[in-house]
Symmetry: C2
């Protein structure tokens, strides 16, 4: 019998990148290399799914094993990501057909899509189309999102490291403002990501523990901003403790449902200015209470901060990649490896298989029971959920004071199709 | 001969705190404890010099040696700092006399003042007054400032850690934006501290190295902002590399000398809003080039980030504290321990003695030769200066995912004066 070459895999990173999405890539590529009989080359999409549509595939077999291992401690998306949501099958069937076309041209039998809710939906549709067209493809969604809003999985790789970064930064800045409060800054405001859900804001609350209590107020997107109530709290905490730290989610909205950050700011020439929520809250505190403040906007720093990534998060990220390949080898289709929490003390977890149709288009919000009744803090339950996710440090190597992050060669796979695809 | 008790020391933290000012405190207290024959108790001012004026002294002898050792890895000012500049001797001689009064009441013979330029000036005046009044006091200034602007000393403890944080954060966020640039963010802007000098902004330029080149533009306070020239650069870098990172100092000024951050922003109700320089630059990029951007303002996070402090900086900070006590024991007065760079490769340094009258009221600016001719980057010379200062990691201990920072008991020394002092 002639030797049959194993069929290839396609891997793409989707949406906002994280400190650990490359750890998932490492998990996928290293595991695929171990299953050489079942999986041929892993081709990565340059800039995510766009790479598949335009037949711009990266041959990961050209990367050394040390480069792939280094992905484990390199933040960002090593192959490029994209914000490109495929339209529905009805609206743009051509896009899905093109994917199948490219996959067929490169003998791709495994489709690993590493992203959040939108990519889970795309992954499901690709799987359905492959079934409908009779092209054999195993579509496996690999979870990633700092928003922590995918269903079934206990948490999403990427979130734990952001949570750790925000908890640490809030603790450190709180120590700072405590030192300064006598004659200077009394309120420190840190703005964090999370337009729809307060998971990351909640992590700010983790800065305060029984050992190290810190006066913190959290402004969640789930709780309509009540200026008077908030100012009352700020005032009380400053009176009691001398200072207060405020963690404000970028997604906080006022009573009318408008984003707090959208205050119709205009510069001297009348041009609209895009501010953040933190300076808006700071301005209000100055106006209402006359307190001296400082504010920070963490933005990309929080999701790129591989230097202080959560060890648990890195392990999760790698494990979902590894599990995805194992599921593929076992013949699974239209599934997602999900993290299942087995116990809290000690923290134990395992990987389960979640059917993709239960994942796509479902957003997991933060439970009401995670926010204290007054709306400004996190409950014990929330703390118990978050704590294992930020646990452990996993430092990258350093050279001359800077972390050594890898850049891959990212060699293109020879194109086989004559057709171009406009995106 | 009756045993004479050794005389006491006073220590105060002044101005903005840093990630390593407590390491200096540890250096002072631990060294004083080793010279028990020469130095009695170390009394710390609660909230800096205010603690001396109001006779609110903290008895550090009540702290365990493990607590004092933990100061080495705890950011912020453990005894509280203050922004309180003593007036000139002519304007308010009473303040200086009060200091001497409090020092005399508590048998204080050593005055360690841990701060930047303003505190060096105060320290000098206290030393002069003690001489004039005949009260024997050895005044020793201990350098600290993230602004890195004290003269004589090669660098200032506190700066190296901020520089490391900004270099790392800029590198990490640049990796992030590089991943996103194809369909989303093309310009990332990070605002850093440094109202007068571009030392910290320069550190952002360190994110790019020969091994890991990154397109970065630095906006220094030393270089008047030229919007057209800047936009031309941004445009070119985005065309060449797909993205660019911009490091903007909070102190950048326009051609008319006004702060870039001061754009006369007004909210919908006409209230003035205090923005940062980063959102202003972001808005300009949107208006002029239509590029998608993200911006971050690091604020206190940068100077509190003990989790990623520079090992060199921690060693410097401890060493100046230790040296200050040794100088005191040797009988020195009106001096400052300064860091002297002995060689670059390998990096070697030692502590020297600087006369305080050469330190006070002298601001060390960044040399012109540290900024590239186009005004947007750092030179090789600058890189050689900065590189040893960010080198090495010195991680704090962690518990449940968070750094364990110490809080002292901060017990007050029994007051001896009947007089109150209003500040």
């Amino acid at each position: 019998m002639p030797k049959v070459n194993p069929r290839n895999a396609f891997y793409a990173q989707s949406g906002g990148v994280t400190a650990v999405i490359n750890a998932t890539a490492a998990g996928i590529i290293e595991t695929a290399r171990k299953y050489k009989k079942n999986v041929g080359n892993v081709y990565a999409g340059r800039n995510g799914i766009i790479g598949a549509l335009t037949e711009d595939l990266i041959d990961t077999s050209r990367e050394s094993s040390s480069s792939i291992a280094a992905l484990r401690f390199t933040p960002s998306g090593a192959f490029g990501s994209c914000r490109y949501k495929l339209k529905s099958l009805e609206e743009n069937r051509r896009e899905y057909e093109r994917l199948i076309e490219v996959f067929a041209a490169h003998d791709i039998a495994y489709f690993f899509y590493n992203g959040g809710g939108d990519s889970a939906d795309t992954c499901l549709k690709v799987s359905q189309l492959s079934e409908a067209t009779g092209y054999p493809l195993q579509a496996i969604h690999v979870p990633k999102t700092v928003d922590n809003d995918l269903p079934i999985t206990d948490n999403c790789p990427g979130f734990g490291s952001v949570a750790k970064y925000i908890a640490i930064s809030t603790r450190e800045a709180s120590f700072d403002v405590a030192s300064m409060a006598k004659t200077s800054t009394k309120v420190f405001i840190i703005e964090v990501m999370g337009r729809h859900a307060g998971w990351i804001a909640a992590a700010g609350g983790m800065a305060s523990t029984v050992d190290t209590p810190i006066p913190i107020l959290v402004l969640f997107p789930e709780v309509a901003f009540d200026r008077e109530k908030f100012m009352h709290k700020v005032d009380r905490m400053v009176n009691e403790h001398g200072y207060v730290s405020v963690v404000v989610s970028e997604g906080v909205r006022g009573p009318q449902g408008n984003f707090l950050s959208d205050q119709g700011l205009k510069d001297a020439f009348g041009h609209a200015q895009l501010g953040g929520a933190a300076p808006v809250v700071a301005g209000m505190i100055k106006d209402d209470l006359g307190l001296k403040y400082h504010w920070a906007v963490a933005d990309y720093l929080q999701r790129a901060a591989r230097h202080i990534a959560s060890k648990t998060d890195v392990e999760h990220a790698y494990a979902v990649g590894k599990a995805a390949v194992k599921m593929a080898v076992q013949g699974d289709n239209s599934v997602m490896p999900a993290i299942k929490r087995v116990s809290n003390r000690p923290y134990r977890w395992k990987i389960e298989k979640a059917p993709l149709n239960k994942v796509a288009n479902v957003e997991k919000m933060m439970p009401k029971s995670f926010i204290t009744r007054d709306g400004f803090g996190i409950t014990k339950k929330c703390r118990e959920y978050l704590e294992p996710l930020i646990r452990g440090e996993d430092y990258p190597p350093y050279k001359n004071g800077l972390p050594v992050y890898v850049r891959l060669k990212n060699k293109q796979v020879k194109q086989k199709l004559r057709t171009k695809f406009e995106i």
